[in-house]
């Protein structure tokens, strides 16, 4: 393979995890997470490099990565907004929140703004139903949301 896509930090972290599992394939989910932490998404070259490290075919890496919604197989914006629209959040106004965000960002769910700052997605239940509606902004939860709170949150990012 040509130049490495993944950092030494990635390989060090994997080395530390290896003794934790009886098989190397079990490192696949942790490896995909760690790679996505570095890249923001999972380009083909990265998937290939993970396959090479674990010793499996790139198709097997892709087969697994594509099963899970958290692995981004396409680039996402700097700020990845995932609004829960499952039952409890819907009962508490998540649909209106999504509409508001779509209008505010000028994109539909599943899309990224042309400046690559924001990606907006609908998410299944985040496990924050008692503090609904809820969303994730990158890795962080934001709960008890209203349109005003979302506006404030986005203002803080500009």
């Amino acid at each position: 393979m040509a130049t490495k896509q993944l950092s030494q930090k990635f390989y060090d972290a994997m080395k530390k995890l290896e003794p934790r599992y009886p098989t190397k394939v079990a490192l696949l989910l942790p490896a995909l997470h760690a790679a996505q932490d570095e890249w923001g998404w999972l380009p083909k070259e990265v998937l290939e490099e993970i396959g090479e490290y674990i010793g499996i075919h790139p198709a097997q890496v892709r087969e697994v990565a594509s099963f899970y919604t958290m692995y981004n197989l396409k680039p996402v914006g700097k700020y990845h907004i995932k609004v829960c629209t499952n039952v409890a959040c819907c009962l508490r106004g998540a649909d209106e929140l999504v509409e508001h965000l779509e209008q505010k960002l000028g994109i539909h769910c599943g899309e990224t703004t042309p400046d690559r700052r924001f990606t907006l997605m609908e998410e299944e239940c985040l496990g924050a139903c008692g503090t609904a509606p809820a969303m994730m902004l990158n890795e962080d939860y934001h709960e008890n949301l209203s349109q005003e709170r979302v506006d404030q949150l986005l203002e803080g990012l500009r």
């Binding site: 934790r20 989910l29 039952v87 009962l91 985040l126 139903c129």
Partner: protein, 424 residues
Amino acid sequence: MSANETIFIQHHHEEARPLQYYLSKMEGYSAAKKALSMSTDAIIDEVKKSNLRGRGGAGFPTGVKWGFIPKQSPKPKYLVCNADESEPGTFKDRDIMRYTPHLLIEGMVIGGYAIGAHHGYIYIRGEYTRETKLLNAAIDEAYAQGYLGKNILGSGFDFDLTVHRGAGAYICGEETALLNSLEGKRGEPRVKPPFPAQSGAFAGPTIVNNVETLAAIPHIVTRGGEWFSKLGKIEKSGGTRLVSVSGHVKKPGVYELPAGAFTIRQIIYDICGGVLGDKKLKAVIPGGSSAPVLTADEIDVIYDIEPLMKIGTMLGSAALMVVSEDYCMVKLIKRITKFYAHESCGQCTPCREGCKWMEDVLHRIEDGHGREQDLNLLLDIADNIGGKTLCALGDAAAGPVSSFVKKFRADFEAHIRGGKCPNA
């Protein structure tokens, strides 16, 4: 007052997290010390006596499950904690992990010892990044103090614990899908048998338990199975239960209630302050979105496993979702069905095709393009999914659709006849 004795929730605050608090205020790791001097059979007997039933949704007696593990095994055994918490409406395990991570760790040390496992995994849903960090920090503390690792508390018992993150797949809450995901595969449920107790993680005998289940174990070891059993106010269901209440109630949140002590009406009106805006109650989904719906006339039922089963629904993960009079029931069941269609792993045709089909039919009814025969069609599809799939996801999708159509048929008919939502 013993009816309101709680074991978890008084510690659900930020200050409870550090090891120091756990040791000084919760008799931390004294249960592990006691357990490690007991025989494994004696521990399993105590858990059986406690009438602790799995808190993930199936309600299987934990002690009986542990008893299925073979004493001798050529392959390593594993204890896996199911921290996927993906059933919509459920958010109790998150509180245990973020406020009292050591309680879970101690429960796993005891469980590992009882079944003869030397490695445990906490399979946590990928979205819980903060809880993952908190758990890892607590695990580091436990290793540093000798509560994990080699020769725990001088007992000669070794136990390692690893947090494994999922990546956004509801189905990974199903235990065999979870095990596949742990092994680095797609989270597709396995054919059973073999059951995990025979061949689970990495083909070794494995027990999968929910977070709340494992967090109850230290209490059971310290105070005895009989004491725990008596916390429950109904036969064959011991302990207290963390109930997640959400939707149209004044005070949503996690409540710790003695098993079987209250009716749904009491929970909504006496404990959670009533329906939001003092509106009329329309419906209750009693056990996560997989549970068949109840009407406002059906809520004088004791909130526990068997009473709910008797009226055709289930307690599930004890996630109670409250719906008030002005919310559209067609919209609600369409949203639930969309979820199952999205989360179907695709292995079994009835689930893969049936869920999507039900979603499409519900979509057209919601949009006012439904036909009279659609309601019987929905019941027919649901009937052809339920019980005809490898795992319970098919039933989880079919049960709600049948119950919504049967119990709120007039709402569906109004959409079909009126060509739109009557509330719109």
